[in-house]
């Protein structure tokens, strides 16, 4: 045995390597089949991160098509409702650098709005019903329509089609129940405050609900 190896070192090496590769290949192949993990397809995972407003601001007819587009290489910064949080999450998932929001598709807003139909002005044309991507508007032809507030994603798509302009995007009313503490100010901010006002604002309450009257900007 040893003699043969010593005589034909090259062939012996080849044989050994081939043998090893066959063995390891078999092991790996077996493992790949045996321990296969059925992961979520990437589109599913991206879709899960998108805010599901189905607003189409990204240029695709809904969140899932955009998720598919991202999976096919579209940029990930086209979703204003999701904002930077969503971009970061997707960047994290895809392991890419997180870009900032592409303002061409709209601006990020802190205030969540929902559609509101001024019911006495509604003529019952059903146009908004057709435009709603999540079936959140109830009503029938020539009958008054109304928005199911809990289902409205605030996508804005029903405002434009309304012939009598009776749909407003109103900020969601906030009560004490929705309130939460903000993160404390950083040390530097605290020191600054200390010097400027002689008090420390550990809490900076953001009561700026914005003067959003969503319906008028078209």
């Amino acid at each position: 045995m040893y003699d043969i190896i010593a005589q034909y070192p090259l062939s012996a090496a080849l044989v050994a390597l081939t043998g090893l590769s066959v063995v390891f290949g078999a092991v790996l192949g077996y493992a790949a089949i045996k321990f296969k993990v059925e992961g979520d397809p990437i589109v599913e995972q991206i879709d899960k991160l998108l805010p599901q407003t189905q607003c189409g601001q990204c240029g695709y007819p809904g969140c899932r098509p955009y998720a598919e587009a991202i999976a096919n290489g579209d940029t990930i910064n086209k979703c204003p409702p999701g904002g930077q949080t969503t971009i970061n999450a997707i960047a994290d998932l895809l392991d890419v650098e997180a870009p900032s929001l592409d303002e061409e598709h709209g601006e990020e807003s802190d205030v969540k709005t929902v559609a509101y139909i001024r019911e006495d002005e509604c003529i019952g044309c059903t146009k908004c019903i057709q435009a709603c991507p999540v079936d959140a508007i109830l009503g029938a032809a020539k009958l008054m329509h109304t928005v199911i507030v809990s289902e409205c994603t605030g996508c804005d798509l029903c405002v434009e089609p309304c012939p009598v302009d009776c749909i407003d995007m109103l900020p969601v009313a906030k009560g004490p129940g929705d309130w939460k503490w903000d993160m404390p100010a950083t040390t530097e901010e605290q020191i600054k405050n200390l010097h400027s006002h002689d008090i420390i604002a550990t809490d900076q309450n953001n009561n700026d609900n914005g003067k959003q009257d969503g319906g008028n900007a078209s």
Binding site: Q52, G56, R64, H105, A131, D135, D165, G175, K180, I200
Partner: protein, 748 residues
Amino acid sequence: MRKVWDLIGGVHPPENKHQSVQSCIGTLPLPEKLIIPLNQHIGAPPKLLVAEGDSVLKGQVLAEPNGMVSAGIHAPTSGIISEISAHSIPHPSGMAARCITLVPDGHDRWADIKGVENYREHSPEELLDVIRQAGIVGLGGGGFPTAVKLGTQQSISTLIINSSECEPYITADDMLIREHAKDIVEGIKILSFILGEPEEILIGIEDNKPEAYEALEPYLQDTNIELVEFTTRYPSGGEKQLIQILTGKEVPNGGLPADIGIVCQNIGTTYAVQRAIQQGEPLISRVTTVTGNACETNKNYLVLIGTPISHLLEHSGFDQSKCPRLIMGGPMMGFTLEDLNIPVIKTTNCILAPTGEELPTPPPAQPCIRCGMCAEACPASLLPQQLFWHAQSHNYEHLEAHNLFDCIECGACSYVCPSNIPLVQYYRAAKGEIRKLSLEKINSDRARERFEFQKTRKEKEEAGKAVKREARKKAAEQARAKKANNPSGNTETSPADDIIKAAMARAEAQKASPQEQRAKLERGIVRAESHLESVQKRLNTLEQDATEKQREQALAALEDAQLRLKDAQQKLADLTLPSDTNVSNTEKTVMEKSQASPREALEKKIATLKERIVITLKKIAEADDESLKTALQNGLEKQQTKLKDTEQQLAETPAQTNESTTTPETENAAAAAIARAQAKAADQASMSDEDKLKATVESLQNRLIKAQEKLASAESEGSEHIDAFRSGVEKLQAKLTAAEAQLAQETQ
């Protein structure tokens, strides 16, 4: 002597309780008005039973419990309901919520109330209902409806009465025990009866209240109630902590004390229960400590629920200039109030008005050195320093792995932190953030579901329509073929049936002509045209230096392309128009149609509908068969309504034609809106604020013009929606003026 377990962690801040136990529980004159928040408990807000202007008697129900977890509220004195509106409530946010304002009439007249004479003759359920109706909630600070807690289905082996009162400064329970020990013990007996006489009844009390201990002891002779004293250490009064101290058991994560056979009640609650059962008195007042060096007198008061804090402070010699912050609750878990008109509610055990020296404002936070003092102090065995670290970096996954939600926000970690880090605020913010995110997740999942559902529904509808159309087409063809074969009309099916079917098929083809199919054909035409163009181009280039054969080939290709284009156009025409329309016209109509604006298309539609009506009328006149006649008349009616609809639609369709004809009606409304919104957003992104405003004004002007046109057409047609159109126009005008004003301001 009973074995007492040690509190895990904990701190021992200066107690500061002696100030407010010098005198007995006092009362206050009636305030000018009482502000009673509707929701003073955890759970659903109660149902309002009174209206503004009603006069009520003391103890009268103002709102009744609404749902399982809810509590009612009662008039603390007699008087008139002057207002029911939003008022700032005791809440860390300082936000407003619905409150009933009661102006006392000064008579303090009781409504007719009656207690239960011998509670042992009643069933626990009846007693629970009394407690529920009396609006009793956990008075220790939780505010959880007591009846719900007592109504547990699990079998209870231990009833724990919490009189630990571990927070510094607060002495409300201490004083209540000293003065009402007998009633409290009575209340405990009632609770015990309701819970089916648990084996153990323990009163947990810290060793810094010897007077209260002595006051209770005599009444506990010959009872199975055990008074257990343990070392003063904050937060021994936390429900979970007290259970651990007294029994050594831990409430399982995500569970309730009832899961391990324990019910825990605050000692103030037992007193309220006793009052409600034996006197029939609802919860309309409570003992509240008013303390702190910014008040001259520190003592406990029996306060009516709804009494504004300013009233309490006025009678305590409060000096606001010395008091940088006003706290409701104790110095460890209380929250600051920014408004002195905030009322006392059922859970208000203390109003703390410290001076700046007493509780100094915290200095700026220094970096965390992970010294671990917080972990030593944490009663839940968490790692506060790690929680802080992850909260700072918004690392929510790690926060949950570190059991952030087991934090009881007792503040022991912040208390010991040598770096003065507001740890609890970090945890609260992080918790709020996580809750918000999970709520958003739920909402977005639902939105996705609904969106997907809508999609599949629409697809199904389309598929169903296509199948039906196919069937009808076939039927119509067969009928026609039969008719052709049998011109005498002697067919198996009656002519009426035939005609109706054909008409229906036509109508269906017209109405439900699948938009995709048409779009496809149109695309086919476009493709064919471009192909034709390219062939021609090739031919032109060939012209100069090609052989005869090549030229011939090219010409053939050109011809082929032309043929194909014609074919496609023909198909489109077939699809769009009923077969009985003049075929030679179809091409033209289709071309017109595909290029026409929606408005023109609609006009065309109206014209064809009118034509068809005329034809139908003629047919009716010709028909001799009675059944055929009625069928035709039905058809006529349908056609007429359709005509009306179309006209209506025409009225609503923007009169102004779009410059680009790329928005045919085949696209659905949503897609159009998306396109417009995108264009708008794209424009706006590249604009300055002023430009944006200008654009807004412009678009508003356009919309106004459109709306005015709509109005005009509606007026001319005498539409029933004139009013709606008119108000729409007015609104638009108002918006426009506002936008213009803003623009004017901006340009200045």
